[in-house]
Amino acid sequence: MSHSGAGAQASGGAALPKVFEGQGRSELDAILEKYPNRQAALLPALWMVQRSHGWVSPEGIVETAETLDLTLAYVKGVATFYTMYRQHPVGRNFVAVCTTSPCSVCGAEAVVEALLKATGCGRVGETSPDGKWTVVETECLGACGFATPVLVNDDFIEGVTAESVPALLERYR
């Protein structure tokens, strides 16, 4: 059972933790070993930021830029290119549903509707009033034969139907 890390930026004004200190620094050092320069560690570093802060926060971007000796503009340009790096805080559980054609043909839209209803999210992309859920549509998740695949935080769940949505969400409540 995974979490989106969104809890890290929970209650009012608590400073976001440093990502590349202590164990984080060791982890980054191990990553740096895999590449011939620091810039190449950028995508893995941004994953670390998101894991720690729940999203790619401005503080995370600053720390990443400083640590890897890149400009802020450069890091922001890369972070905003990739859809999975979240650019704002999200609910405690981040739910991404594939709705590209192969899944659309198999009823993915109904899964989205069911999720919105069950989570209390008003619309796709919004966080539920209780802060527990954000539901988004995503492009092809590469599991078209197991429609409809849903990513809940880091869990890749196959074969979700409108009917199976309530049981799925129970696991994360």
Binding site: K34, P36, F81, T83, M84, Y85, V105
Partner: protein, 433 residues
Amino acid sequence: MGYPHPSHPRETVLLSRYFGDAEARGYDGWIKRGGYQGLEKALGTSREQVIEEVKTSGIRGRGGAGFPAGMKWSFMPKERNGPHYLCCNADEGEPGTFKDREIMRWTPHALIEGCAIAAYAIQAEQVYIYIRGEFTEAIAIMQRAIDEARAKGVLGPNCMGRGPRIEVMIHRGAGAYICGEETALMNSIEGRRGNPRIRPPFPAQAGLWGRPTTINNVETLSAVPHIMVKGGAWYKGLSLSSPKSTGTKLFSVCGSIAKPGNYEVTMGFPLKDLLFDLAGGMKPGRRLKAVQPGGCSVPFITAQEAEGALLDYEGCVAAGTQLGSGGAIVYDDSVDIVYQVSRLARFYAHESCAQCTQCREGTAWTLRILQRILRGEGRMDDLGLLLDLGEQMTGKTICVLSDSCAVVVASAIQKFRPDFEAYVRSGRSGAAG
């Protein structure tokens, strides 16, 4: 996790043999199943001979481009004056395709073995497996397998005790279909925006960090151990139709189909049989309307065109489409084709990297026109406009994302014009619903 179906008797089971077999994931289980014999054999052969064997096999890139793999390997410099790199393209973003994920999560060592053989052949000491960020399960399984392989000395400074240094590292993507394009993939590994590069230079001359690089698809690399063990000639003999299309291919069948899943057949296998025999055909009461046999970026073909189509590179072209990645998306008569075309346009517009004017603006414009048609505000000359825009989006850009959008729209209008006209006239779909 979902489990694949048991093999159909008409499948040619090669790569998918151990799909569903949890024990195959581990090193010991893999060895028990004959694993790493290909690598063993390769290390005892010269690099040139390994490349020759792959050339003889006739295997072509299974990611969608269909470029002969052996020839691609032979483009690498013979003299090594610094690092060479191998990238394994596990970005699998082509809608309709879900075969590489299966290979990684059921037979990770098969991929590692293929990577190691390729790395040996092209004199690469570092292999990056670029796995799309969403494949969390596959990433974990691959990493465990890599750690095992290292611990067993298959990977590391002294591959199988026979000499070459081969390190395999996973680079996790972060949600960009375009990173499945080989030069965009390299940019992504380098910590850049995933923009495709202009060519020249080609990756074999200057790829990752300016060094000679080869990029191969997961399925292509996973076939290499088999080619080493049984020989290129054997692989070449696996061909039902065109001699230029050899070996087996995993076809990911999905959409309006009774038994979606991956089916491994010999090249040249009839499409009709794949859909109606192996994959169980249509759902009750439904007729086949359209199919894209090679992922969403190939032309639609009608049920009639699918009738005699053979599943190999030449056969699909003859049928008016392309083999592509082999992700067969099936649409039955309940499907609103116009909606699905707009959904695919939305996909392309979302995934465009923004470099080329025609793609950046054209995919978005195409989407807006289709959405307007769907809202009931379409005009007849919208169809001609869409075709004209598609013409401008074809053959004029750094990569073929915009060409894909154009070909999807053009083939749909060409073959299902009445559906579009119905929307324009009445503002509603003509589909059976």
